[in-house]
């Protein structure tokens, strides 16, 4: 029996012991080390850091190991750990123009200052299973020579367009719609989300949002549900310095570097009474190498700006409340999976009602039949 008998406590304990046992798997196979996960499952680690909103490769690797490779479970572990950490303050804005770039491509120009740099990408690989990887202790790939791009010579594509005034400025002029006058940035891990949400909060929500959800929404805009005419202006991946303004010193000090992926979408904008025709922006930024997520985020960010840009609204990706309320996979998985919890009290209430309504329905039917027979006779 499931609940009527005592023993829930023991059952839970045993289930967790079994979980630990199965997590380890066959004991004759060596245990995974965190180092192996960090080095060889780097993109999983990046996703867990991004959606877990905590930049720590070792902890992300631990979460992945503990979660048996279930990335949403790993993200959940990171989030729960993150809440317990003290908060010292907020960093200075990242200067992605000064990124130490490992990959940088632009789809809008054939060539540009700093050039196109493919970097480590799956693009143009033929998706053929490489059976050489299946052999243990297989060939060790040779370390290729790396170009050493000079960050000074690799300006952001949007800045190049900005010089001509063809794209809206990075920091829009203040309108009633734009962020707080004081430039204070919101934080939805400290304040509950409320609507309408400004772009700072929207971007934070998307940065923490589920890659699959944003991918589907971004895709839907391309298929016409809130079309935004996007061009991948620039995607760059690399390391940026994080700086923290220290009150005691009176200046910002570097804390270290983080690896990020930035995507700037350039979207058509016909102009309005207030703004001249110019390109508009959709922005995506995620920890680690996460191009698919950064691109999806940029598409959705642009779609969510339809209100401020005075565009027609109606597609799912343009619906701020719909997108922001459902993007978080930790929330989503919790609520979907809570259906596993016992609900028999409510189900009993429904049983009582359905039985009563059925009795009444059968009674009515019998009565109707009797009436019809009477009328026929």
């Amino acid at each position: 029996m499931y609940v009527a008998v005592k023993g829930g406590e023991k059952a839970i304990r045993n289930a967790h012991r079994l979980l630990a046992h199965e997590r380890r798997g066959d004991r004759t196979v060596p245990d995974l080390t965190l180092r192996q996960i960090v080095e060889q499952m780097a993109l999983s680690v990046a996703r867990v850091m991004a959606e877990g909103s905590l930049y720590d490769m070792e902890l992300a690797a631990l979460a992945i190991k503990q979660a048996r490779g279930d990335l949403i479970e790993a993200i959940f572990l990171m989030r729960a750990y993150r809440t317990t950490l003290p908060r010292f303050g907020y960093s200075e804005p990242l200067e992605t123009a000064k990124m130490l770039v490992r990959r940088r491509i632009s789809a809008t120009y054939k060539d540009l200052p700093g050039g196109q740099l493919l970097g480590p990408t799956f693009d143009y690989t033929h998706r053929l299973l490489d059976f050489k990887l299946a052999a243990e202790g297989g060939e060790v790939p040779e370390m290729p020579e790396l170009a050493q791009p000079d960050p000074q010579e690799m300006p952001r594509v949007t800045d190049l367009l900005g010089h001509e005034g063809l794209i809206e400025p990075d920091v829009p002029e203040h309108t009633p719609e734009s962020a707080d006058e004081d430039g204070e940035v919101g934080d939805l891990t400290r304040e509950p989300l409320s609507f309408p949400a400004e772009r700072d909060i929207r971007l934070q929500n998307l940065a923490r949002g589920d890659e699959g959800f944003l991918l589907a929404l971004g895709y839907s805009t391309q298929r016409g549900f809130g079309r935004t005419h996007p061009f991948a202006g620039e995607i760059r991946i690399g390391e940026v310095e994080v700086e923290f303004f220290a009150e005691e010193l009176g200046f910002a000090v570097p804390l270290g570097r983080v690896s990020v992926t930035e995507c700037q979408m350039i979207n058509q904008f016909q102009g309005s009474a207030k703004a001249p025709p110019q390109f508009s922006r959709g922005y995506g930024l995620v920890f680690g190498q996460g191009e698919r997520k950064a691109m999806s985020m940029a598409l959705v960010d642009r779609a969510l700006r339809s209100r401020e840009l005075g565009e027609e609204q109606g597609a799912p990706a343009q619906d701020e409340e719909f997108v922001l309320s459902h993007s978080d996979n930790v929330q989503a998985t919790g609520f979907v999976e809570h259906l596993k919890l016992p609900h028999y009290v409510d189900f009993q209430a429904e049983l009582v009602l359905v039985r009563q309504m059925r009795r009444e329905w059968e009674e009515r039917n019998r009565q109707d039949k009797a009436d019809a027979q009477e009328a026929a006779e």
């Binding site: 609940v3 720590d56 309408p196 609520f335």
Partner: protein, 304 residues
């Protein structure tokens, strides 16, 4: 200096603040609770934290309990009326571990009762607080999915939509087809979701001596009913609110006018009805009450 993996290890070894949450967070939650008590039935937004248990599994109730829990409290946790359902066991264990408070299964002994889906049968006293876990705090949500709209409707006390829904139920089915999470009006002002308790429990909320607190973690809302507050279940003059009735008493303790669980005994239609409130059932049996089953056949089965 300790690395993050190391400090994670320390945390895992019991280096938590009392009742897990840090004091700043508790203060923030207490402020929301005070506001909620001051405006009965109004949903106060709060900066819900990520807890080490999934959203939808009681994170709101857990945060409320953690914020009001003191070292001298005695905690009872129930789910579906039972202290032994898996999630109740898990939440009780969480507080045993992080707050080392005394726990109990006896309703009368508890100072704080955290619950999901039931209100105990025994009347609560003024020295007790009941904390409800709430999945969807907005009673209007299934009628209007947008928060921007529902907040306006509450502000204007515009509850016509809810009455239309109840009326349509009657027109279509002859009954109000809501059997749990049945909407109530608190203190003559706010329409409130009582959490998914069966409507059987609604009358217990009215004029309750204990403070009633509601926590919705995922939806980031807290609301409250202060002691001795009017709580009316929505209805019509010609279709007054009625609770579920059962045509037989509890098979184990013979209790009548309590909420019963239907337990399927075999695949040939065999079933028995037993108290959903397990503590109530045990207390009655200890007092010598016996139902038609003569004892608890489930316990015998479990032992086998």
């Amino acid at each position: 200096m300790t690395g993050p993996a190391e400090s994670a290890r320390e945390a895992a070894e019991g280096e938590y603040n009392f009742a897990y949450l840090d004091e700043q967070t508790k203060r923030m939650i207490r402020r929301a609770i005070l506001k909620a008590i001051a405006v009965p039935g109004y949903q106060v937004p709060f900066a819900s934290r990520e807890m080490p248990m999934p959203y939808g599994w009681g994170t709101g109730g857990v945060q409320v309990t953690a914020s009001i829990l003191g070292r001298d409290d005695r905690l009872k946790v129930i789910d579906q009326g039972s202290d032994d359902t898996t999630n109740a066991v898990s939440i009780r264990a969480f507080f045993e571990k992080t707050a080392q408070v005394e726990t109990t299964t006896q309703t009368g002994e508890a100072t704080i009762i955290q619950t999901r889906h039931r209100i105990p049968e025994k009347a609560l006293s003024q020295d007790q607080v009941i904390v409800y876990q709430v999945p969807i705090p907005e009673p209007l949500r299934y009628l209007e999915p947008r928060e921007t709209e529902t907040r306006k409707m509450h502000a204007l006390a515009e509850y016509g939509l809810m009455h239309v829904k109840l009326y349509e139920d009657i027109a279509r089915h002859g009954h109000i087809a809501t059997t749990y999470a049945y909407p109530v009006k608190v203190d003559g002002r706010y329409v409130m979701d009582p959490s998914p308790t069966p409507k059987f429990d609604n009358p217990k909320m009215h004029g309750m001596k204990a403070l009633q607190l509601f926590g919705a973690g995922r939806e980031k809302r807290i609301y409250a009913i202060p002691p001795h507050t009017t709580v009316e279940s929505l209805d019509f003059e010609d279709h007054p609110f009625k609770v579920q009735t059962f045509d037989r008493p509890c098979a184990i303790c013979g209790a009548e006018e309590v909420y019963l669980d239907e337990v399927i005994l075999d695949d040939r239609g065999g079933r028995m009805f037993v108290c959903s409130d397990t503590d109530h059932c045990e207390e009655r049996r200890a007092a010598g009450h016996v139902g038609e089953a003569g004892g608890n056949p489930l316990e015998r089965e479990g032992a086998a």
